[in-house]
């Protein structure tokens, strides 16, 4: 396994630019998720990495080996990439064993590699004689990963591998596949449009937007310190509050009161990023104890409650400004619609130049 580096990769189709200079480093043995809405160019990026497409410009290296540069285009069969497409794309005329050992040299096909990779993807060895159509969707994806891992590839590329699975199977298969990738200490690039999937499975998330990477960061950093408000709202639930930075420079005044900012800013108008789980609900009858001393807690009315069981999204209208915010509360005791509550904001918030 090696690291992966791409610099300045560009690609257009019929004059329409799809990738406009992509730079990405994937450290050896780690999983990077490329996250973006459909049509943002992430599949094109993956196909360029695999060698199915040639970029118009740019350089790609697997470790020290340059596979794409101005004068060089190593064909897919010489790149040692493992490719796991969306629907698995198992060879329908071959059984599981022949699918998994497809990329092995003829002598190695009969060896114990088959059993080893089936173990790796947590599939029973008895499945080896089955045909692809006799497998469930999740099993097909695991076989596709086993097939990609069998020849010991330099890099594993996964193109929305879980999007064709139903919700329950999806997270289980996702976790099993990342376990297998880690067990094989594989360098992997996973393309997805699902935020939860990207944040929960990857070591590093690259947010793709309009053909460039808007931000590349660890999942925690991406969620808590997005580069701009667009990335902030794309990677998770967010309320953007109009606010004014106070004279001190480290707090801002908003509909939810005066909030502590992560980084000091010069006085002036800003947008504050408040995640739903940062907003705490306090029954209006009891005085807010955990609000900042000397600051009146904001008062709000519950307009809508989406109850999910484990938690609930509470939509609130803050008096008197009418600002709408969303709070995420535990599912044990969600408020009633119409109830009046006090709001407190937990922790510091991040501010962005007002748009």
């Amino acid at each position: 396994m090696t690291s992966l580096t791409m610099t300045g990769v560009r690609k257009g189709f019929a004059g329409v630019p799809v990738l406009c200079g992509v730079d990405l480093d994937v450290p050896q043995g780690s999983i990077t998720a490329v996250l973006g809405p459909s049509g943002c160019g992430k599949t094109t990026l993956l196909r360029i990495l695999a060698g199915f497409l040639a970029p118009d410009a740019g350089r790609i290296a697997f470790g020290d080996t340059v596979v794409v540069s101005d004068h060089r285009h190593v064909p897919p069969q010489l790149r040692r990439v493992g490719y796991v497409p969306q629907e698995g794309a198992l060879f329908p005329h071959l059984d599981v064993a022949a699918n998994v050992t497809f990329g092995l040299p003829r002598r190695a096909r009969r060896g114990d590699r088959l059993g080893a990779v089936l173990d790796l993807v947590e599939l029973p060895r008895a499945l080896a004689a089955r045909r692809p159509h006799e497998l469930s969707g999740g099993q097909q994806q695991r076989v596709a990963l086993a097939r990609a891992l069998a020849p010991g590839p330099a890099v594993v590329l996964l193109d929305e591998p879980f999007s064709s699975l139903d919700a329950g199977l999806r997270s289980a298969t996702g976790r099993a596949i990342t376990r297998a990738l880690r067990a094989a200490s594989a360098t992997a690039v996973l393309v997805t449009h699902d935020q939860d999937e990207a944040l929960s499975l990857a070591d590093q998330v690259a947010v793709m937007r309009d053909g460039t990477l808007a931000q590349v960061a660890r999942p925690v950093d991406l969620y808590h310190a997005p580069v701009d408000t667009a990335v902030a709202t794309f990677v998770g639930g967010a309320t953007l509050l109009p606010a004014t930075v106070t004279r001190s420079g480290d707090t801002a005044r908003s509909a939810l009161g005066e909030l502590q900012m992560v980084d000091p800013l010069p006085p002036g108008p800003v947008s504050l990023l408040v995640r739903p789980e940062q907003i705490e609900l306090v029954a209006a009858a009891t005085p807010a104890t955990n609000g900042r001393p000397g600051v009146e807690p904001a008062v709000a009315r519950v307009s809508e409650v989406c109850f999910y069981g484990h938690d609930a999204a509470v939509h609130l209208i803050v008096a008197p400004s009418g600002t709408q915010v969303v709070a995420r509360v535990l599912g044990v005791d969600p408020p009633e619609v119409g109830a009046e509550v006090h709001l407190a904001v937990r922790g510091c918030v991040r501010a962005y130049a007002a748009s």
């Binding site: 060698g51 285009h73 064909p75 490719y83 329908p92 590329l157």
Partner: protein, 514 residues
């Protein structure tokens, strides 16, 4: 950009494109011939050749036969499909197969079966009955397939909205069968325009028989060619209808078959009449020709088993069909490849170009090849090369449809995956693409093989002197009323065409059409 990937794609694209264009050009020779000829002869002389009482009779006969045949096939085919798929008719599996079986009996053999028993089938009524008996499965099979794929939820929704079963059938089921039924009936129309053997035997003159007679009796080129132009016009009218349907038809997704079986209607007191109906149909379409063949084989005074002649004709038919099957399938490969992998305007246009030839009757294709060969490529006239080329043009669509379906089973993604697993282009072709498409390609070749074995019209016009095939031998014996001597040839043709019928039935069921 001079990337290796792009160079590779271009390098493999151009020869395939050129090959596809060449194949489409060959397929368009007959149509081109008719158009060029009609233009060259000029309006005044053309008008003179056409405006004769004889032509009026031919127009009337052909129109009557095509309209009547389509209407009858539509009624019989749809009725049978409904009985077999949606009612509690006893022994439905048996009927399902028996009602498709008439496809295995060439129409001219069916005609022979009847005319050798009674001369009362001569003329319009007899011809209409016999072509209906021969061609109704072309409607029956796609409609039955369509009925089976219908989502029962639609009917259930209609019931839930308070519709009666009869009104549900009329307002929900029938409209959905329209594409299949119309597609099938247009196929019937094209077959009827091309039908020669049966109609000649039943002494019911249409354009096709008239062209043949003109050509044989006087080698009267202009008259035959002019009638051919009118016949092509008839075909184009039908074909335009078919193309419009094809364009709007939604193909069923793979595996979209309804999981639940649809509601079965209780026949009740209609059970016995329905059973008698399908029984009668089977007797007329299969029983009569079978009885007639067996009778002539067993008791016919002229029956003899000239083993050597039979073997020789069989060997000629089989080898001609074998060569034609290989050639046609090879020609179909670039066309199907372009249609599936390249798509777009060029791919579709080339594919449609080859279908166009399918709409032209064998007699027109043969006439075109004779004329073009005599004028421009004299050396191939009266050779097997010309005959095989005509077969290829006639049956290219069957091969293209099969190869196309096969290629769709092998999406490019699988080749990409094989590439990423270290397999080079040649190894990928050997280990992935070929194994996936071979069954379909083989089926296409088999369909062509068996169509050639029972082809009569083009074979009569184009086979070199001294070449005798099963079809030509059968024809020359029936023409001299040696029915007993003709019977063994007919039997051999039927035996050879059974596997083709099974394959064709499977394709029609999938809604592909030949």
């Amino acid at each position: 950009m001079s990337s290796a990937g792009r160079r590779r794609r271009h390098a493999s694209g151009v020869p395939v494109l050129l090959a596809g264009i060449a194949v489409a050009a060959l397929a368009l020779v007959p149509l081109g011939f008719v158009v060029v000829y009609t233009v060259a002869i000029g309006p005044s002389e053309g008008w003179e050749l056409l405006v004769r009482p004889r032509i009026g009779e031919l127009v009337a006969n052909t129109t009557k036969l095509v309209a009547g045949g389509i209407a009858l096939c539509l009624v019989v085919g749809t009725g049978c499909a409904f009985l077999v798929e949606r009612t509690d008719l006893p022994m439905r599996r048996v009927w399902y197969a028996l009602l498709a079986a008439p496809l295995a009996i060439p129409a001219f053999v069916n005609g022979f079966g009847w005319i050798s028993l009674t001369h009362r089938v001569e003329g319009f009524a007899g011809a209409l009955m016999i072509v209906t008996l021969s061609y109704f499965p072309l409607v029956y099979l796609p409609v039955a397939a369509s009925l089976r794929q219908l989502d029962p939820a639609l009917e259930e929704a209609a019931f839930a909205l308070g519709r009666s079963p009869l009104r549900t059938v009329l307002t929900v089921v029938l409209p959905q069968l329209r594409p299949a039924a119309l597609g099938g009936s247009l196929l019937v129309g094209l077959h009827l325009l091309a039908e020669f053997g049966a109609l000649q035997m039943l002494r019911f003159p249409t354009f096709t028989t008239a062209i043949y007679d003109q050509y044989r009796s006087s080698f009267n080129g202009p008259a035959a060619n002019m009638i051919a132009s009118v016949l092509v016009l008839f075909c184009l009218v039908l074909l335009l209808g078919e193309l419009r349907l094809r364009g709007s038809r939604r193909y069923a997704r793979v595996g979209a078959g309804a999981a639940r079986s649809a509601a079965q209607h209780q026949l009740g007191r209609w059970r016995v009449p329905a059973l008698l109906g399908v029984c009668g149909l089977a007797v007329l379409a299969l029983g009569v020709p079978a009885y007639s063949l067996v009778r002539w084989l067993v008791v016919g005074s002229s029956t003899e088993f000239p083993i050597t002649e039979l073997a020789l004709a069989t060997a000629t038919s089989v080898s001609l069909a074998g060569v034609a099957a290989v050639v046609t399938t090879l020609l179909a490969l670039p066309v199907a490849w372009l249609a599936v992998r390249r798509g777009g305007v060029v791919g579709t246009a080339l594919e449609r170009g080859t279908y166009l030839a399918n709409a032209l009757p064998g007699i027109v294709v043969a006439l075109a090849f004779v004329t073009v060969a005599v004028r421009y490529v004299q050396p191939v006239y009266q050779t097997h090369v010309l005959l095989v080329a005509a077969y290829a043009v006639l049956f290219l669509p069957r091969a293209v449809v099969s190869v196309r379906a096969a290629l769709e089973q092998a999406p490019p993604l699988l080749e990409d995956v094989a590439g990423s697993l270290g397999s080079g282009p040649l190894a990928t072709a050997r280990r992935v693409t070929l194994p996936l498409i071979l069954p379909g390609v083989g089926a296409g070749a088999a369909l062509v093989f068996l169509a050639v074995v029972t082809e009569l019209t083009a074979t009569l016009l184009l086979s070199p002197l001294g070449t005798s095939t099963l079809a030509t031998e059968f024809w020359s014996r029936t023409s001299s009323v040696a029915y007993g001597a003709a019977a063994p040839y007919a039997l051999l043709m039927i035996v050879l065409s059974v596997p083709a019928t099974l394959l064709l039935g499977r394709q029609l069921r999938k809604g592909l059409g030949p």
